[in-house]
Symmetry: D2
Amino acid sequence: MFISETTVRVRYNETDKMGYVYHGNYAQYFEIGRTDALRQVGLAYKEFEDNGVMMPVIHLQSTYIKPARYDDLLTIKTIIKKLPGVKTEFHFEIRNQDDTLITTGEVFLVNIDMQTNRPTRCPQVLMDKLIPFFNSH
Amino acid sequence: MFISETTVRVRYNETDKMGYVYHGNYAQYFEIGRTDALRQVGLAYKEFEDNGVMMPVIHLQSTYIKPARYDDLLTIKTIIKKLPGVKTEFHFEIRNQDDTLITTGEVFLVNIDMQTNRPTRCPQVLMDKLIPFFNSH
Amino acid sequence: MFISETTVRVRYNETDKMGYVYHGNYAQYFEIGRTDALRQVGLAYKEFEDNGVMMPVIHLQSTYIKPARYDDLLTIKTIIKKLPGVKTEFHFEIRNQDDTLITTGEVFLVNIDMQTNRPTRCPQVLMDKLIPFFNSH
Amino acid sequence: MFISETTVRVRYNETDKMGYVYHGNYAQYFEIGRTDALRQVGLAYKEFEDNGVMMPVIHLQSTYIKPARYDDLLTIKTIIKKLPGVKTEFHFEIRNQDDTLITTGEVFLVNIDMQTNRPTRCPQVLMDKLIPFFNSH
């Protein structure tokens, strides 16, 4: 299992008239979570695209437990529970500065070869970074 | 079953560097779908809030089938499959101008009494509008 | 002078915790205004890009006079006061359903040849549409 | 003169199909700049609102010099050139990781007493923090 954490501070424009973070904006937080997870193992998502692989989202699910508010400092926990294949599955838990669980989510990406526009397997450079986290005993 | 349709044109800022609508923006389209569904039966979501009931989203799920592009004219089909209780469940299908299915989704809202900050049943005015669509025989 | 009008309804996510439309979102409304202005003379901005000319914004100015609120039906007046050269200058006035002036703005675009990545003159197809509005007597 | 710097990394959803940061999103970067400027002198904008003063934007201007791209690490320089009165004027310069000037801007806020809904002078707590930066000799 691979786990990574990063923080994000809630921006004013991310709130809505209810005074809470608009529910649709958590998709951005999930994206920050997985981008920073890659960065923490020395990879930049940008380079995948520069190397001809894009990773569009094919599925997103989120459950909103407690509201987040303007200026909250959120911690995004990004979890990969199994090694990626054509699909990479990310799980997320977002907590605020009081360690209250705010939102959980799942985002599934698929690897697309930008030349053929068809699914392809996970870039080897990413596999190499992830495999050590899934070696048992 | 209650079904409603509305259209939305993809804005430039809703696309991302992949050239497609950013996946997180579909939450807005779902919101437009259910707001317009209410409007088509003569109700304004705004009035619920003005009358002390807010309806935060507690769950969202979406599956991305085909990309939508800038200036696409999307049709959002909003479906209520069962009468709301404390929770209202909306289902969505979004198609483009070629009738290609782009995205499906589900959004669950909960009714919150803004004075007590506790869940409450669906406003009667909305129930009155929906019940005729669920009368069997 | 060329004048065009279009309407846009304020989305929930466009409001912020003040209860008003977030000031940064007017850039989108200005964009809707000028896109619809083109559409009303039979042109699609999308086709400019498909034909190798993109029109990035080089300057934006807006003055916020009164707040807009959720579900407001805004009228965007888009004005071109002089024929485009390398630069196209759009002026905007946004009013709500009570005809209250909400925001004024200016947006300047520059035409960029996507092959050379250099400024170029306004596409002839657009000039042909605009010239009749600037012919005096 | 008061000067403060903060950084922000460009998010995927902030880009558009041109591959650059959408011009309307710089309003958010300016907001991050001035919020962090306050934080660096020990103040939280949130507390102004909690204490009954809100600061809506009344004017925004931005000039786009070079594009910013996904994952760029931008430095936002926030400048206050004169002591606030009813109005506070912020100036901004945004540079990328290569020290290229990307965008400049100005944002004017007005202090509003949330009880009377009328303009009021700048909160004393903010004045106390700023005055030392404007003491000559």
